[in-house]
Amino acid sequence: MADHVDVSQGLPAEPHRATLEGKNKFLAMWCFLTGETIMFATFFGTFLGLRHQTAGGPALADLVALPLVFFMTMLLLTSSLTSVLGILAMKKNNFKAMRNYFVITVLLGFGFIGCEIYEFYHYYHAGLGYTTSAFASSFYTLVGLHGFHVLFGLGWIITLLSRYWNAGVTLTNAHKFYAASLYWHFIDVIWVFIFTVVYLLAAGGA
């Protein structure tokens, strides 16, 4: 065995990095997130380049409802905190608390997705179709790609929860939950830029 971790005293303090598999997954996850950053950078750049090309259709400043965006931001930010608390509970071998925190994370994530679907529905009926203008396409692609990431993250966490519902914290699942929480934080990091660069910039009249 490449990993000699002492398990006789109980769960190691850093269970997600106690095995070689966990260490590898940790590094690979960061490598993946780096690639995701660059991918999102291309979509952000495209949106910023095309944001004034409305082709006679509605602009975001005419449509955006800041209170809804603020509410969505709070949902996602809070879900990021609950997944942090979940990982902190995992390190203490407190499986039930971790499970509850991740369930709350999933519920908040679904709240976010619901708001986003409502938002897109509203924009579509206000005359902003996907092919209305270059701005519309780049907006829906950027924000929709983020929404897809949220959906994927939800599927990921739900799969882990249903598979390990009664498993307790083990050296097999600790790094899996940790990787999912890293991905979830990354979604929140991207959202910070979306609400700043997409919504607030438009509402601020820039």
């Binding site: 002492d6 750049g45 607030l200």
Partner: protein, 114 residues
């Protein structure tokens, strides 16, 4: 070993010192969360109240966004912790690559309009 990997533990092997660090870490995370909420509220207020000039609001909210970005990465995603040298290297190289991507796309699509 293999079967031990999927065996739950009845206790944690944390030492007293590690426990103290753990509760300190919990406190730090909650404080950084409060900071992030504050930054978010501030940037929404800066735009929503419409009392500030556009020329000031835009760099201001971008700055708040960047601060929150680093708070997320260093605190929630633990980049500040030790043993994170490789993740730091990977992610900063990602940022170094992202900067010219964003700038050149803005210039090519938005200003030069090729």
């Amino acid at each position: 070993m293999a079967e031990e990997l999927s065996k739950p533990f009845d206790k944690s092997a944390m030492t007293l010192q590690e426990r103290a660090e753990h509760s300190k870490e919990t406190r730090i995370q909650i404080i950084s969360f409060a900071f992030m909420i504050g930054l978010t509220v501030l940037s929404f207020l800066a735009v929503g109240t419409e009392v500030l000039a556009t020329g000031f609001v835009v760099p201001f909210i971008l700055l708040l966004g960047v601060i929150q970005f680093f708070l997320q990465l260093f605190y929630f995603m633990h980049l500040k912790d030790k043993d994170h040298g490789w993740p730091n290297m990977l992610f900063s190289s990602g940022l170094v690559l992202s900067a010219p991507v964003v700038i050149s796309l803005i210039l090519l699509l938005g200003i030069v309009k090729w």
